[in-house]
């Protein structure tokens, strides 16, 4: 089998070990006789290795991330023909080197074990595998019929993707007489887009956080899933990282999302009242009087003083940046009012730049259009339906009954790579290549075309949809001549042919030719009944698994939600006040009932939600989305009926009335949280700007004494602490030990260290996924990863309920409250601290002396090293560790022959060959990405030079969209980290334990003001 480039496609599942064996044998054979055996041909990713590739040395491809519409630039690291890691492209104007967890998890989509491995065709009730020839001729036949019949009744639903594909697709559809496709995205911020189009004539202006002195968000979760998450976070952290002149943030909304937790003030306005608040505040700010404030405050359920102080602050602090998201029935009106207010405050051009906006949402169809298509399907007036990438049967509100309607279409074609709720209803499945296997482009920044290129041969027998469309068109005599040979040629045509393509691919960027963005057809929206329950339902898009598309990736399933810290589970978030009223304890099930549906799930007591509001995240409760998603959690969308925001056609997710009742059953929370507060232990510290300026609250107790390279004094600058283990030299012979900085080997002249700036860190958790990807960390939450006989707990997340998750870096989220959350009464005025916690690489590490076999010891360059092969698993090191950052392999998560194996074929293709996959019974922990350190050192040595300052960095620092993590050599003044540790905000966690950690935290900056929300 050949793919489009003529390269042989690897089909047989390959074990890494076999691969290496054969690589060795095959290499010898190739040299000796100049040909390969049959077996070798099947096993080696490259049959004939491309020029300039060296086994064991990575090749990097620039491409574009397709996990959401933002269009971040990515660099895909491939090793011997396999993509092993995705990183942000530092040269890309959108994300500037950062990448979120979802983007990095694209790899687990590529290697998803549940992907379709061949085209499928319905026979009776089942989909059975077929050949591409058969599948394409079936499709071509059906299309010929449709074309004859006029084709007007076809519906093509495509997951919104910006670039030239939508235009290509519409052209193709037109060729068969079919209407333009629906470019849908369940997560899209349609209300803001509609309001922006109205106010600024662009879908998405640039929001310049750095220019703002005050940021007010009306339900716009710009650090969660709203808008352009990564670029917004990069900008936001850049702004907050300025310290002096950093913007204050005020969040208005019914629930403190991650954005809300990063805000300095929370005005807990009721869902549905944001429009009234925005308009009243607007009126007051523009001098039309404060009259409306009282009624708005009443409607929002907040004290009028809080709105008055918001007005006062808006009047005095300029420039400001006001954002409106929200997904209630009048979200667009809210956004429009906020845009007007931005205009009135003179923010346009300063903090809001319509001309520099993003094109990511161009061509997006509204939710109403999708609902309209659903109604046509239900009425039986759709003859043929196509769906690609989207899963409306899961992601649309239950009230639309998409599944039932879709089933009525006589012929349904899916281009989905994965089985899902929609695809399983289809008659023909033509699995698409993954975005990492196919060509494409995006132009989300005007004038810059970001290319998407295949980074490896296809994993399975799939085909790029564009190529399938071309093949089908070629079967039609009229259309055949209009198409290039394949989609690659089409893309090349956009960038000046093959030469242009070759030139553009190394950076992945080229000059764009302004795309014509097809105008979305306006469909009149339907307002739905709000119901009459006692509570307001607030369904929000999960910042981790999104609308559900992330749920088949174990990295995302196991990544705790940055706010609730829940993984592998759907919970109903209620305030402790509400819980007390209902007599519900955390984990006990509650039933949420709306006019459309009911949902029973464990209660999660969240202090950052209004007591009259119930929140449920989207994204779980799949029925046909593979082994990691099916049966995990519940689908929040099932609670929602047909109701849309009249102006934008956005589904109403928030503000629907619901009733709440205690239900039978109790579940363990699948959470990584131990205690929600720090108990005054000074783990995540903060100062205010005022204190910092006056030197208050700044403790200079941390000692960075000792001259690098000359002294063995305890402290960060010293290569190792004075009582570090190891050979310190022989005083008699005068020979210096390896740990002496003056030893000839130079092994001890460096002290690897890390600085984490808590003023920048938002808690987004992208670093966690980066660490999973880089370090082959197993996920442990799948139901089959527990004991096989008589387990005391089964189901998703069973191991996580026992705290057995393996994340080497974790985000601790502490609320600054004086009692346990369950005992808290509603008070919107609480501070939240997030702190990434990983191995602190103590200079005087408590884990080292207790290990009986030297499995953990101190390296001369200051690393706390873990030798997996030597570890016998006494777990004594973990007891010694005050930071609790050591993780044990309770099962054979890394052993292929175990039920608990975390990387079922072909997920194991992603494994980083530079990092050992750990077997059962050994300890592991953050290594400071020692493989990257050594790689850089070896490269430098090979090139006969010294390491350059900041030449490389660790995986978490590289991914961090906030740029909060800086890694480097603290013993060398040239490195950035060595300057940052002298910051007046610097501290070590648990400094009093004399551990001399190599991780330095910089205190968070709090921005209090006169705007103190009165107690509600």
């Amino acid at each position: 089998m050949k793919d489009l480039t003529g390269t042989d496609i690897v089909q047989e599942p390959v074990m890494r070990r076999d691969f290496l064996k054969v690589l060795g044998v095959g290499g010898v054979a190739a040299t000796a006789v100049g040909c390969y055996s049959d077996q070798v041909e099947k096993l080696i990713p490259y049959v004939s290795s491309p020029d300039n590739t060296v086994p064991g040395v990575s090749t990097y491809y620039a491409s574009t991330c397709r996990e959401c519409p933002v269009g971040c630039g990515i660099i895909v690291e491939t090793r011997d023909g396999r993509a092993i890691k995705i990183e942000g492209n530092p040269d890309h104007p959108v994300n500037r080197g950062a990448l979120c967890g979802r983007g990095q998890s694209a790899l687990q989509g590529l290697y998803n074990p549940d992907r379709y491995q061949a085209p499928m065709k319905r026979q009776g009730n089942a989909l059975v595998a077929t050949t591409w020839e058969d599948a394409i001729s079936t499709l071509a036949g059906k299309l010929a019929e449709a074309k004859k019949a006029g084709g007007g009744s076809a519906v093509f639903i495509n997951q919104h993707e910006q670039g030239s594909f939508p235009g290509f697709l519409d052209g193709w559809l037109a060729g068969f007489g079919m209407p333009a496709h629906l470019s849908v995205d369940a997560e899209a911020p349609l209300s803001a887009i509609a309001a922006n189009r109205q106010s600024f004539s662009t879908a998405w202006p640039k929001h310049d956080f750095s220019a703002a002195k005050l940021v007010v968000s009306f339900g716009a979760d710009f650090l969660d899933a709203w808008g352009l998450p990564v670029p917004q976070q990069v900008d936001f952290a850049e702004a907050r990282g300025k310290i002096d002149g950093a913007p204050r943030v005020i969040y208005v909304g019914p629930r403190r999302s991650l954005t809300g937790l990063n805000a300095d003030t929370w005005i807990p306005a009721r869902s549905g009242a944001l429009q009234a608040v925005a308009e009243a505040v607007g009126a007051a700010v523009t001098g039309k009087g404060n009259a409306a404030l009282t009624s708005a405050a009443e409607q929002a359920g907040v004290p009028v003083e809080s709105l008055e102080s918001l007005v006062a602050e808006l009047k005095s602090v300029k420039p400001s940046l006001l954002l409106a998201g929200g997904s209630d029935a009048n979200a667009t009106a809210t956004a429009a009012a906020v845009n007007e207010l931005n205009k009135a405050l003179g923010n346009i051009g300063l903090t809001i730049k319509p001309s520099e906006g993003s094109l990511a949402f161009d061509g997006l169809a509204s939710h109403a259009a999708l609902r309209d298509a659903t109604e046509r399907m239900a009425a039986g007036s759709v003859s043929v339906a196509f769906v690609r990438g989207a899963d409306p049967a899961h992601a649309m509100p239950g009230g639309t009954k998409f599944g039932e309607a879709f089933a009525k279409v006589p012929f349904k074609v899916s281009f989905s790579s994965y089985p899902d709720a929609t695809t399983q209803l289809c008659d023909l499945v033509l699995p698409d290549h993954h975005s990492l296997e196919s060509w494409g482009d995006a132009e989300t920044v005007r004038g810059t075309l970001s290319l998407q290129q295949p980074t490896m041969d296809p994993v399975f027998n799939t085909r790029a949809t564009a190529d399938v469309l071309i093949a089908v068109a070629k079967a039609d005599a009229q259309l055949a001549g209009k198409y290039p040979t394949d989609y690659r040629a089409f893309i090349a045509g956009r960038v000046g042919g093959n030469a242009g393509l070759t030139k553009a691919l190394p950076t992945g960027l080229t000059k764009g030719s302004s795309l014509a963005s097809p105008a979305a057809k306006t469909i009149s929206a339907k307002a739905g009944p709000t119901g009459d329950g006692e509570y307001f339902l607030h369904v929000y898009t999960s910042p981790v698994v999104g609308d559900g598309r992330g749920a088949n990736k174990p990295w995302l399933q196991e990544l705790p939600d940055p706010v609730t810290k829940i993984a592998w589970q759907t919970v109903v978030e209620i305030h402790p006040d509400t819980a007390r009223k209902l007599g519900v304890a955390e984990g006990e099930h509650v039933t949420v009932t709306t006019t459309t549906g009911t949902l029973s799930a464990p209660a999660y007591l969240y202090i950052g939600i209004r007591p009259d509001t119930v929140a449920v995240a989207t994204g779980r409760g799949h029925t046909a989305y593979g082994r990691y998603a099916n049966g995990c959690g519940s689908n929040a969308m099932s609670l929602l009926g047909v109701a849309e925001d009249a102006r934008s056609g956005q589904f109403v997710l928030s503000g629907v009335r619901a009733s709440l009742a205690k239900a039978a059953g109790k579940s363990r929370m699948v959470t990584t949280e131990g205690s929600a507060r720090q108990h005054d232990r000074g783990i995540a510290q903060a100062v205010t700007l005022e204190q910092l300026k006056h030197g208050e609250g700044v403790v200079h107790a941390h000692v960075f004494t000792g001259q690098a390279k000359t002294e063995f004094l305890p402290g960060l600058r010293a290569p190792v602490a004075n009582d570090a283990q190891g050979d310190l030299g022989d005083p008699k012979s005068g020979e210096k030990g390896q740990y002496d900085p003056n030893h000839w080997s130079g092994a001890a002249k460096r002290r690897w260290a890390m600085v984490v700036d808590l003023a920048r860190c938002t808690g987004c958790s992208a670093c966690v996924t980066a660490c999973y990807a880089e370090n082959n960390i197993p996920t442990v939450g799948a139901p089959w990863q527990g004991p096989q006989f008589w387990p005391d707990r089964t189901g998703f997340g069973a191991n996580v309920t026992r705290n057995r998750e393996m994340a080497w870096i974790r985000l601790e989220r502490y609320f600054e409250i004086d009692r346990e959350p369950k005992d808290v009464e509603f008070n919107p005025d609480f501070d939240t601290r997030v702190i990434p916690m990983m191995c602190q690489h103590c200079g005087n590490a408590p884990c080292e002396p207790v290990c009986p076999v030297y499995a953990t010891y101190h390296s001369p360059d200051g690393l706390n090293v873990q030798v997996y092969n030597r570890c016998v698993g006494t777990r004594y090191c973990s007891n010694g560790c005050p930071y609790k950052v050591r993780y044990f392999n309770w099962f054979g998560f890394g052993e292929t022959d175990r039920a608990q194996y975390a990387f079922p074929e072909p997920l194991n293709w992603q494994l980083n060959p530079d990092v050992t996959v750990r077997g059962k019974g050994v300890m592991e922990k953050c290594t400071f990405c020692v493989q990257r350190i050594r790689e850089a050192e070896h490269r430098a040595r090979a090139e006969d030079r010294e390491l350059e300052p900041d030449e490389f960095t660790v995986a978490c620092a590289q991914a961090c969209p906030s740029r909060a993590i800086v890694f480097g050599d603290a013993a060398d003044e040239q490195w950035a980290v060595s300057k940052l540790i002298d910051d007046s905000r610097a501290y070590h966690v648990f400094e009093e334990l004399n551990t001399y950690t190599a991780v330095v935290y910089l205190r968070k900056i709090n921005h209090p003001s006169s705007l103190t929300t009165a107690k509600a």
Binding site: T672, E673, G674, S675, R677, Q678, H679, D680, R681, I683, Q725, G786, P787, Q788, F789, W790, D792, N799, R802, N803, R804, R810, E812, Y814, M837, P846, P849, V850, C851, P852, V853, Y854, R870, C871, V872, G873, T874, R875, Y876, S878, N879, G880, C881, P882, Y883, K884, Y887, F888, N889, W890, F891, G892, R898, Q900, K920, G921, V922, M923, F990, L993
Partner: protein, 473 residues
Amino acid sequence: MATLAEPGLDHNDGPKRPNIARAGLQLPAVKDYAQVDREIIATLRPTKAWFTLLMASITCLGIGAASWIYQIYSGLGVAGYSPPVMWGVYIITFVFWIGIGHAGTLISAILYLFRAGFRTTIYRCAEAMTVFAVMTAGLFPIIHIGRPWKFFWLIPYPNWRLLWPNFKSPLVWDVFAISTYLTISVTFLFIGLLPDIATLRDAEKNPIKKQMLSLLSFGWRNSENEWRHFARAYLFLAAFSTPLVLSVHSVVSFDFSMALVPGWHTTIFAPYFVAGAIFSGMGMVYTIIIPIRKFFKLEHYVTLNVMDAGAKLTLFTSMVVGCAYIVEFFIAWYGGVKVEQEYFYNRVFGQWWYAAWIMLTCNMILPLSLFSQKLRRNPTWLFILSLFINIGMWFERFVIIVPGLSHEFEPWQWSGYRPTWVDFGILLGSFGWFFMWFLLFIKQLPVIAIAEVKEIVPPRTRKSAAHVHAGGH
């Protein structure tokens, strides 16, 4: 063989001052050597009840072995660990059995050096208990580790990689402490057994068994010279084991006090653990000796005076342990370390209240009943109390290990702990293992030291009995 009078049981059972080792007063119902031989050798006859108990023990052992095999195959995840509670039932049970192993040596060695007469009839039993308890305890570090097939890496053996264990690690000290203790205990037990094995050999009719016993007794001929060497060797070993009683459990306590864990990192641990060990050992001695004296009809050897004296030792160690508990709380308050204070609060009034109160009730409060002489001389009560002490001491180790780890410096990593059937299966298996050996022992070798009892039997029959029965042919 001289004609021997049947001794009548003295229901008065001696004076109220039991510790005076005076011939004729200690064991008034034991009249002569022949009676000693006859009565003690009679205990070696297997009975149905014994066989049933042995089968029950082997069944328990089987359950434990099956659980362990399953655990080795699957990984430690099948046990109930909840990080950061990385040590659980296995280390608890390890310390529990090591502790039990201490009473034996205390009774056989320290009390021997102190010439405490009441030890005579119970020391053999206690010492056998020690050996088997240490054998049981020694399994647990291996059961506990993640890769048990690599346990020998903890032992310093010559290898071409020149890799040695980390001598800074208390776990390596443990390896030395336990192996030393086991070696010395076995040697001590065996040396003490020599004259008794000779006695058995003489009484044995089966030629094969006789041959084996003959070998085991090293051809003991009851000569003056042999007795002289025996006495010196015994005294030497007693002196040698005495510091071990103190050091082994101190070393075990270092496993905890060397780590930074709040509630572990304290200097009181060594004496606290030693006292606790002796206390728990006394508990187990009673659990074993009371049924033995009843079912083997040895009430006139293990007299109420002996019970009484042992109970006083139990009471004393209980009070030492109780004092240690109080000092721990005091230091937590006095030291002013907030993390430690919160840990102790959580231990008693928080998450782990039930374990802490089981511990305090069983180890501190119930033993206070031993201030009553009536209860000290009531074997039923002593037996019930001994069971409580065993439970209490197991929970003491639970309270030290689990709450400490579950409530450390990092509040984000606080957790709970729920043992699974594998934990309990292996715990049960350890009792099966221990009792299997013990039951086999008591039917093969005398559970009361024949030679030592003879030393204090009233002298009127000494000449003939010594000549005829102690191996002189």
